[in-house]
């Protein structure tokens, strides 16, 4: 357990000086959004001049603040008074008609983005309820009038008296007294009684969830209220990466009024618990505990906005999100664990990755920036080129300093605080997902601390040029093939009011994998970033990440630790893979240099499926990496005397095999490395990855063109590699399967069955009657039928390779050793080779990847047989076993394996996390949940769903993209619901149907079978 990793703190309330209306520091931090009531809060009445508000709104939006008016009136009333047309990056929302509509105002005008439309029955019911309420009041001798029939509500005037036609909010006390007097005179016990009448009337009219509100003069019966507005806003903001902890709610009727909740108190919904809440109203009945009462009306509200403006202008730091399940906090600087922590805190954007070093220099830190696909060295010595470092400040961390780093997985922002003798220094940095290759840092420190200095550092030994050009500094590094230019622009200012130094730093990395990149484009790009500014880059970053999470998040209720670990895995998976061009995804992605950035089956089989199912553009980019290296694969096949394309076990820049021939293992012994020669299943794995992309995306064009070429070439390889004996049976000799403890085996079940699958898949790709390859495909199909797969129908077992059953029958239990463990290290290579100990899922991998190629019902016997023999010596193994154990209904064991897989890097189980995170293991975490526990499977145009989730998970939700549709699968005990933005074809309980849409299709468990709930 990594003891430096903290749970997120409780959200803190706004601190302010009560009754200090008019002071400039009414809040102690900047907020990202201000949600405010209109009448009585922003303006005194409908006739007030709102030009000051307009000016502040437009200025704040230009500096990235979102503003949202929440009003009971219609948009024309609000906009007619406000007339603001901000141009971003912040937005102006007008939530009108008491929760029924939302508009956005910008230079194009005011447009509706949401409207709740009442049905005919609902409208009729509102009329009936209103009439009934008026009747009840009339029977008491009270004259009330319907003054408006607004969208989704009816408004009753309790004092239709010219003297009280438009009372100002400042006279609320007098108004309330008058209403109470009139009601009391007729035997009505105050406003609560009137509300009760209206509620009963609504219920009788068929509106059990009617929203009844009052501001003393009026009673409204409606379908929505301000709670709907704030919920819509919080959902909208969350979708743009802004959490409720960064939101300020301002009203003037937060407290009770005449025994009824104030109209603005409806904004204090549970989801807004971590929002700051302030009242500027009179509040005769006081305010709830969580609301800060400032009073002062619109003047105070103006001061609040002015204060937020000043904070923006002075480059104040955005406050970190602390939403549970979304933040990884590392407290302190542990000299032993520091490099591990820096890897965990890596921020990346698909193009570059930057380690999460502390703000100041320390002997234990290892600053590192790597770029996808950029290598130093040649052939098997190719390794990731270390790029210039952009995120250092001219500070030093000493033992006396307190250091805290906080990674917000929702937005990709890394926040830091360092407190020491010189004071407190904050920073936030990110690698822009919306503009890959662009990086941003903002820092804030005491006035006597210099934050600017040397903004770029070349790695040791790099061949560099460094120049300052105006405000930009750049470093260019040459690689044997290609290079990188890093350019940085920064500006520093001293804020006299806050007495702080502040710095904004922008960086750009221009990467070229073929030739030395020119400097000018990088310098120009960084100048543009600087011109766009921190707030625009920040807003774009938040939105980009929120958009990715919209299609990729997994929710697990009931296990907070696992929830965070899962999101941690998904975060780094998303950050490590580009979505344009080609994506070379090394074993550690962009989180470190270990494994030299070389590409293994890790990427195709363990990383790609997650992206195919959530962001197919990235999966396509990964396939592009392979497709561009088809020529090299063809050359390799030819070298072996084979046809078609044979992909290398280990690949780097050119796609040639870069597997070394010898190496020291962890026991210090020199070993021959035969994986490059014999682990040929990689060829089928690449084809399988392409099939995964097609199954999830439905990309027909790709299927007809590039994918077809890939399937055909890989099939040709198998057709020429498989040897047919005199009995007509196909064999593959001298191979290594996923279980690398056993080399040079014959008829490895995984390799043979994957080859068979590959042949059949290629035949399908050329199945058209007019396809010129149909004849050749006939040969593939015939060959596929002959391939030996080691299956014994009497036992249901697949023999892992010819002769496996004759090996020493060791199971892990016999060795009394804890799992996982690297058996070859402890027991020796020779011993494990002579025994039935298996490094990782091999036969079982077939059940995971190609269940349609496997004998039905064979999962259980093979799981029973191979699971006890598996040492899990590979970090890829626990997650896959978790998936299969879940499919087999062995949920407790599945959960145990999932926990291991999810903690591999967080607990540094390998001792190597410091050199990069285990991206493929993270992929297995997603697969275990999506494929295993939730039982998702994309196949032949349908999405199969068959959940088996642990009882300890209250709610599980998986978000995916399937054939262009955004889909959510929400699982609860005994049921699940599919919602999507359009119906999709699903396969549930053996039945094909169209499901999804909104509100979606619900299924429940009937015995052991899922049935549609009607």
């Amino acid at each position: 357990m990594n003891r430096n990793i903290e749970r997120p703190p409780q959200a803190t309330a706004v601190r302010s000086s009560p009754g200090s209306a008019g002071t400039s520091r009414l809040l102690d931090r900047r907020v990202e959004t201000v949600v405010f009531d209109w009448d009585g809060t922003a303006v005194a009445d409908r006739q007030s001049d709102a030009s000051s508000i307009k000016s502040l709104v437009e200025r704040l939006c230009s500096l990235g603040v979102d503003l949202a008016v929440v009003s009971g009136t219609n948009v024309e009333n609000v906009d007619g008074q406000l007339r603001a047309r901000p141009d971003g990056p912040g937005r102006l929302y007008i939530c009108a008609n008491r929760g029924s509509e939302v508009f956005i105002a910008d230079p194009r005008g005011v447009r509706c983005v949401f409207r709740r439309t009442a049905s005919t029955q609902e409208d009729a019911a509102l009329d009936a309820a209103t009439t009934a309420t008026l009747d009840r009041l009339r029977t008491r001798g009270l004259h009330a009038e319907v003054v408006s029939e607004r969208l989704n509500r009816r408004k009753i005037d309790l004092i239709p008296d010219p003297a009280w036609s438009d009372p100002p909010k400042s006279q609320i006390d007098e108004l309330l007294a008058e209403v109470e007097t009139r009601l009391g005179a007729r035997g009505v016990r105050g406003l609560p009684d009137v509300i009760a009448m209206a509620t009963d009337a609504a219920l009788a009219a068929g509106l059990p969830e009617a929203r009844i509100t009052s501001d003393a003069k009026f009673v409204e019966i409606g379908l929505t209220d301000k709670a709907d507005s704030i919920r819509w806003m919080l959902s909208e903001l969350w979708g743009r990466g802004i959490g409720p902890g960064s939101v300020l709610i301002v009203g003037d009727e937060m407290g009770p009024l005449g025994g009824l909740p104030g109209s603005d108190s409806f904004m204090l919904v549970p989801e807004a618990e971590s929002c700051a809440a302030v009242s500027v109203g009179v509040e005769p009945g006081g305010v709830p505990d969580r609301v800060t009462h400032l009073g002062g009306g619109p003047e105070t509200f103006l001061s609040l906005l002015e204060d937020q403006l000043r904070r923006r202008v002075s480059l104040e730091m955005p406050v970190a999100n602390h939403e549970p399940g979304w933040t990884l906090t590392i407290a302190g600087l542990d000299t032993v664990q520091e490099r591990t922590h820096e890897a965990l805190l890596t921020v990346s954007d698909g193009r570059i990755g930057t380690s999460g070093i502390p703000l100041g220099d320390h002997p234990s830190t290892t600053p590192e920036v790597v770029a996808a696909g950029l290598y130093d060295g040649e052939d098997s010595e190719e390794r990731m080129l270390l790029c210039p470092v952009w995120n250092r400040l001219p500070l030093e961390v000493s033992q006396a300093d307190s250091v805290r780093r906080h990674l917000d997985l929702r937005t990709g922002l890394l926040h830091q605080e360092m407190t020491g003798p010189s004071g407190r220094i904050h920073a936030v940095q990110f690698s822009s997902l919306s503009r890959p290759g662009h990086v941003v840092l903002r820092a804030d420190g005491p006035p006597d601390v210099r934050l600017s200095g040397r903004p770029l550092f070349a790695p040791v030994g790099g061949e560099e040029e460094t120049v300052e050009e105006g405000a930009a500094v750049w470093i260019r590094l040459r690689a044997p093939h290609g290079g990188v230019v890093a350019a940085v622009h920064e500006r520093e200012l001293r804020d006299d009011e806050s007495r702080r130094s502040r710095l904004d730093r922008f960086g750009v990395y221009q990467i070229d994998t073929a030739g030395l990149p020119a400097v000018e484009p990088a310098v120009r790009a960084v100048s543009m970033s600087a011109t766009d500014g921190f707030e625009e880059m920040l807003a774009a970053q938040r939105t980009a990440w929120a958009s990715r999470w919209e299609d990729a998040d997994i929710v697990i209720e009931g296990d907070e630790e696992l929830q965070l670990a899962v999101r941690f895995a998904l975060f780094h998976l998303m950050g490590s893979v580009a979505d344009v061009g080609e994506a070379a995804v090394g074993a550690r992605g962009l989180t470190g240099h270990a494994y030299r950035g070389h590409v293994f089956w890790d990427s195709d089989v363990f990383v790609l499926p997650f992206l195919a199912a959530t962001h197919p553009e990235s999966a396509r980019a990964m396939l592009e990496y392979r497709l561009r290296r088809l020529p090299a694969a063809r050359a390799r096949a030819a070298l072996e005397g084979c046809e078609g394309a044979r992909f290398p076990w280990e690949s780097a820049r050119l796609g040639a095999d870069v597997t070394p021939h010898q190496a020291h293992d962890l026991a210090g012994r020199i070993r021959d490395i035969r994986t490059g020669l014999e682990e040929i299943h990689i060829t089928a794995d690449v084809a399988w990855a392409a099939a995964q992309y097609l199954d999830w995306s439905g990309d027909d064009i790709f299927e007809e063109t590039r994918a077809k070429e890939l399937f055909v070439e890989t099939a040709r390889y198998w057709a020429s590699r498989i040897s047919v004996d005199e009995d007509g049976r196909g064999h593959l000799e001298d191979v290594i399967g996923p279980d690398e403890y056993h080399e040079s085996v014959t008829d490895d079940a995984f390799t043979n069955v994957m080859a068979r699958w590959n042949l059949r898949r290629a035949a399908r790709a050329v199945a058209r009657p007019d396809d010129p390859l149909r004849l050749e495909a006939g040969g593939w199909l015939h060959l596929a039928e002959t391939i030996v797969d080691g299956y014994d129908p009497t036992t249901g077992l697949y023999e892992q390779f010819a002769g496996f059953h004759a090996l020493e029958p060791l199971v892990m239990r016999d060795l009394a050793l804890r799992r996982p463990f690297a058996a070859d290290i402890l027991l020796g290579v020779e011993r494990v080779a002579a025994a039935q100990i298996v490094k990782q899922a091999d036969v079982l991998m077939l059940h995971h990847m190609v269940p349609e190629e496997i004998a039905p019902g064979s999962l259980l016997p093979n799981l029973t047989y191979y699971e006890p023999r598996t040492s899990h010596g590979s970090s890829l193994s626990p997650g896959i076993h978790a998936s299969l154990l879940a499919r087999a209904g062995r949920l407790d064991e599945a959960l145990e394996e999932l926990q291991i897989a999810a903690r591999i890097d967080l607990d540094d189980l390998t001792g190597t996390t410091a050199t990069g995170l285990h991206l493929a293991s993270m992929g297995t975490v997603w697969q275990a949940i999506a494929f295993g526990f939730v039982g998702l499977r994309a196949h032949e145009g349908r999405l199969g769903i068959d959940p088996h989730v642990p009882p300890s998970w209250g709610v599980t939700e998986v978000r995916i993209r399937f054939r262009g549709a955004s889909v959510r699968v929400h699982v609860e005990p005994g049921s699940f619901t599919i919602t999507s933005d359009r119906p999709i074809g699903v396969l549930v309980g053996g039945v094909e149907l169209s499901a999804g849409g909104d509100p979606g299709t619900r299924f429940h468990l009937e015995g052991d079978t899922w049935e549609v709930t009607t």
């Binding site: 032993v336 490099r339 591990t340 002997p363 234990s364 290892t366 074993a587 270990a594 494994y595 030299r596 070389h598 293994f600 280990e650 597997t659 070394p660 190496a663 020291h664 293992d665 962890l666 026991a667 210090g668 070993r671 490395i673 994986t675 050793l817 996982p820 463990f821 690297a822 070859d824 290290i825 402890l826 899990h872 010596g873 590979s874 970090s875 890829l876 591999i904 189980l909 390998t910 001792g911 190597t912 410091a914 050199t915 990069g916 285990h918």
Partner: protein, 260 residues
């Protein structure tokens, strides 16, 4: 100038002790002072010291108490003493040596009587487990070792409890693992490193022999007893070269940490 105390008793072990003390003093840029605790055999001890051209003093016993007092002053940076009087004597070391090493919180070189010690240490073997205590103690040695050409071989021995959970691709796992191991435990010096699998004490001896080491340096908790300091005990028992024991307390760490 700082001192290394060579505790000699006039036995055959005395000369190697003096040689080891001299070599240690060379590492620490200190001078050697030999001390004999009078329990008899003083003339021989004096003669051996004079032959080695090392300053000689005699003090009164009991031996262990006297040596502890001699090592106490701040300018004493280390102590060298014989493991036992004669080869084949008490295992793993004589009671004097054992009593001294559990008490003195300074580097103590235990010298086997049959050790052949050169004028300077050239190759030191530094076994490290994966604890900050042991590497912290060794880091102090590295700082004291002012000679830039001292060949340091870091050795880590994996056993059933410490073998990593995973080894994905051997060609890179070792590279990554060792890089991080050295960064954690030996950040201040460039050193060679080796990993072995087996019983730590045995593997240390094998590695020392293979590497031609002339000194083994071990961080330890100064606690002997059942299931404590098994590696230290085994190395002292079998080593035919000096063993430098570095208490974890010399870096301000609490003794009793699970080290060797």
């Amino acid at each position: 100038m700082t001192r290394v105390i060579a505790a000699i008793d006039g036995s055959a072990a005395s000369r190697p002790v003096l040689d080891a003390a001299s070599a240690l003093a060379g590492m620490f840029e200190a001078r050697v002072e030999s001390v004999h605790v009078r329990e008899g055999g003083g003339r021989m001890a004096r003669a051996i010291a004079e032959a080695a051209d090392v300053e000689y003093r005699e003090v009164d016993g009991p031996v262990v108490k006297a040596l502890i007092e001699e090592a106490a002053p701040e300018d004493v940076v280390g102590l060298a003493l014989g493991a036992r009087a004669v080869p084949g004597g008490r295992r793993p070391a004589g009671h004097t040596a054992l009593d001294v090493i559990v008490t003195i919180d300074k580097p103590v070189a235990i010298v086997p009587p049959d050790a052949r010690v050169h004028a300077a240490f050239d190759r030191v073997l530094v076994p490290l487990d994966d604890s900050s205590e042991s590497s912290g103690a060794v880091a102090e040695l590295m700082r004291f070792a002012c000679r830039g050409d001292l060949d340091v071989l870091i050795l880590h021995v994996l056993d059933a409890a410490s073998v990593p959970l995973f080894e994905d691709q051997p060609q890179y796992e070792m590279e990554a693992w060792l890089q991080e191991f050295l960064a954690r435990h030996c950040p201040t010096r460039t050193a060679r490193a080796e990993v072995r699998v087996g019983v730590p004490g045995q593997e240390i001896m094998t590695a020392a022999l293979k590497a031609g080491s002339d000194l083994i340096a071990l961080g330890w908790s100064q606690q002997l007893g059942p299931r404590r300091a098994a590696v230290v005990t085994e190395v002292l028992e079998h080593a035919n070269i000096p063993v430098l024991l570095l208490p974890t307390s010399i870096v301000g760490l609490p003794p009793g940490g699970a080290v060797c």
